[in-house]
């Protein structure tokens, strides 16, 4: 094998991948989408278009309207202006009609109807044209809760503040491992595992597919004959895979860079948001996690690129490739499915075995690292086995490449491939 020949093939493949529209679109869109999801969506929910809502409180016999108006006045974003308090006989449609009309003509943004409830004191409905802001609805809900609580404990000497603190009780999960204690449990593990799964899946699918299509194009256009006159099948395959690996690492680099920028610049901004102060990005994204994420991404990407290249080498048309590609993606789908089980059962034998099988290691081991950090030797055994898996599948792929690249018209059958592999 000649390194310079490999480098030339890799260079072409890398530049072709990196310049492809799919690559550019995905590299740019993923941080934007993720950033959008993490930073912008909560902001959108918290700052509903209007600063102030004009509402009416319509009491159908609870007597809570004045107290509730006081609680509502404490809400800041958006501020709630109780324009009218009314006592009505019941909440029938005819009684509500004037308020509904006020909402429709815009003089009110909405109105709250309070109805008596024998158990907790009151039921309530909010009528408005816009009811889609969950943050505002939750604020109103809390105001009603507080009003009901005040009435419930009135005269008992119980401190309502203490009761409300008790209501907000939250079980904190702390992961204990050799390296110390980490806060954040299932959600953090789920988040980062799922994020890795999606990134790996999309990166492999788009770049790997691009490479696979290129190999099939080279085969079907017979360009392969010219190329194989100049480089060996093994050099060709190695160059292809290194090129596509390079494009994946470029993507990873851009993403990790964007993420770090996001953590440095956007997180402080985020913390200023009213309801997100308790969202600790640092707990979700540790340096250690980014490191393992990068290792598993790179190795997983590498392994699946080999799968894709091998499958492409046996296909003679893009139609065939489309069908065969499923076989390459399947282990990743299985790994993703099983990582749900893994997050819930991080210590079982099944989980430990699964995390050491190379096609599953990237996702499953990362999930384990997230939930219940396994002994260091197990992580590195997984990484070593994964690397070994890459070498072994690369070795098999080289044999298949030598045999299948010049085949046209028909795909090699599985028995044929087996005999090629045995023949050495």
């Amino acid at each position: 094998m000649s390194p310079s020949q490999i480098a030339k093939v890799a260079r072409r493949e890398y530049l072709t991948r990196v310049r492809s529209k799919a690559f550019i679109l995905m590299t740019v869109m993923i941080p934007i989408l993720m950033g959008g999801y993490i930073f912008i969506m909560p902001l959108l929910f918290t700052s509903s278009g209007t600063d102030e809502l004009r509402i009416a409180v319509v009491d159908a016999g609870t007597g809570l309207a004045p107290a509730l108006a006081g609680q509502l006045a404490a809400i800041e974003q958006p501020r709630i202006d109780v324009a009218e308090q009314a006592v009505v006989p019941d909440d029938s449609e005819s009684v509500r009609r004037p308020y509904t009309e006020a909402v429709l003509d815009g003089s009110l943004d909405g109105y709250l109807v309070l109805t008596p409830d024998p158990v907790i004191g009151a039921g309530s409905r909010y009528y408005a044209r816009e009811t889609g802001n969950p943050v505002m609805l939750r604020d109103i809900e809390r105001a009603i809760e507080a009003t009901l609580l005040d009435r419930l404990v009135a005269g008992t000497g119980v401190d309502t503040e203490r009761v409300r603190a008790w209501q907000r009780f939250d079980l904190e999960a702390v992961t204990v491992s050799d390296e110390g204690e980490t806060e954040g449990g299932f959600e953090a593990a789920f988040f980062s595992t799922f994020a890795l799964a999606m990134l790996l899946y999309m990166a492999v699918l788009i770049n790997g597919q691009g490479m696979a299509m290129a190999i099939v194009e080279e085969k079907s256009s017979r360009l392969i004959e010219v190329i194989l006159g100049a480089v060996t099948a093994t050099e060709f395959m190695t160059g292809k895979i290194l090129g596509v690996l390079g494009s994946g690492l470029t993507q990873l680099g851009i993403w990790v860079g964007a993420l770090l920028l996001g953590v440095l610049y956007a997180a402080p901004m985020l913390a200023m948001g009213p309801d997100l102060a308790d969202f600790d990005l640092g707990a979700v994204l540790s340096v250690e996690l980014i490191l393992y994420f990068s290792i598993f991404f790179a190795l997983g990407y590498f392994l699946y690129s080999v799968f894709f290249a091998t499958i492409a080498a046996t296909c003679t048309s893009t139609e065939e490739l489309g069908q065969a590609m499923f076989a390459a993606v399947l282990p990743m789908v299985v790994a993703l499915m099983s990582s749900f089980y893994v997050i819930a059962n991080p210590g079982t034998v099944a989980t430990r075995v699964l995390s050491l099988l190379p096609p599953f290691t990237p996702l499953v081991m990362l999930a384990r690292v997230n939930v219940l950090t396994p002994p260091l030797w197990e992580i590195w055994l997984g990484i070593a086995l994964l690397a070994l898996g890459i070498v072994a599948s690369g070795w098999l792929a080289a044999k298949i490449f030598r045999y299948a690249l010049l085949m046209h018209g028909k795909r090699p059958t599985l028995p044929e491939l087996m005999s090629v592999i045995r023949a050495g």
Partner: protein
């Protein structure tokens, strides 16, 4: 005698029970333009692929530029396959640069030569076009350039003239001759007999994986079969010229005659006899054309399989 540019000895290549090359012996003299002929399915492409190391031979061996290891000399060989393609979505100049680079040139030199060659074949204006936008003939010129851009010692061209218009056929012919001037050996595999007669010094005719005829073209034609005397004359009613002694058979229209000379007879004597009998407008002594020999040797036997046994 210098080392042949390519030598095959008892070469055998089989595919799933089908024998594509059956004990082929072949020697391509260095510095010549060599014609590799044969009907479809005769094993030409398999012979080329095996010779260049794309296939591993099942028997016998190949010496490419004096080396038993085709890999060791791969950068000294240029190859234009019969069924060829290019990256459709790649810019023409980038593509040629890449193909030059994998043949051993460094990136800068590859780029420089790519532009020079595009200029040479009249495609300078298309350097930045997507290759897929070029016409078939234009792509073929790019492919030819890719086969010779690294100035190889041995150039193998499989049906290089297919699909070219007369202007580009002429250009390609000139370019091939230019390569020979440079000192390269050219192996030309083709069906087009005029091109072979015009370009090749030696040929090898393959049929069913075996050579049925090989040697220097002039020798083959001179030594092969009978000569023909072609005459245009003023008719004088002295009887058909096919009756003349030494004429094996022929045809005579009364104004033109083609007279096949007997194997042992002297063609000059036949011509003298013709001159004695009729008033000649023109007379020509013809060797049999390669096409005649080809047809005679290969005959009307239908080819058993398609060219590409793989």
């Amino acid at each position: 005698m210098p080392t042949p540019a390519l030598r095959c000895q008892d070469l055998v290549k089989t595919f799933a029970g089908t024998t594509a090359v059956a004990g082929l012996n072949l020697s391509v003299p260095a510095g010549a333009i060599f014609g590799l002929l044969g009907p479809n399915g005769s094993g030409k492409t398999s012979t080329i692929r095996t010779s260049l190391g794309l296939y591993v031979p099942d028997g016998g061996h190949v010496e490419l530029l004096g080396s038993r290891d085709p890999l060791a000399v791969r950068h000294r060989v240029g190859y234009l396959p019969e069924e060829r393609g290019l990256y459709a979505k790649m810019k023409v100049a980038e593509q040629l640069t890449f193909l030059a680079a994998i043949r051993g040139l460094d990136q800068a030199e590859a780029a420089r030569r790519a532009h020079a060659w595009l200029d040479r074949v009249g495609l300078a204006a298309n350097a930045k076009s997507d290759t897929g936008d070029l016409s078939k003939g234009m792509q073929q010129k790019v492919q030819f350039a890719a086969a010779v851009i690294h100035e190889p010692d041995l150039i193998v061209l499989d049906e290089p003239f297919t699909g070219l218009d007369p202007i580009n056929t002429r250009l390609l012919k000139d370019l091939i001759l230019e390569q020979r001037e440079r000192g390269a050996t050219v192996v030309l595999s083709t069906h087009l007999m005029e091109q072979v007669e015009a370009l090749c010094e030696s040929i090898c005719l393959i049929h069913r994986g075996r050579p049925v005829l090989d040697g220097v073209v002039a020798d083959i034609r001179a030594g092969h079969g009978r000569n023909t005397v072609a005459v245009e004359y003023e008719g004088n009613g002295a009887g058909p010229l096919t009756d003349l002694p030494g004429v094996r058979r022929g045809e005579d229209t009364g104004q033109e005659a083609r007279l096949e000379v007997d194997a042992g007879a002297d063609a000059q004597a036949v011509i003298r006899a013709v001159v004695d009998r009729v008033t000649i407008r023109s007379v020509r002594l013809e060797h049999p054309s390669l096409e005649d020999i080809y047809l005679e040797r290969v005959g009307a036997s239908p080819s058993p399989a398609e060219e590409d046994a793989s």
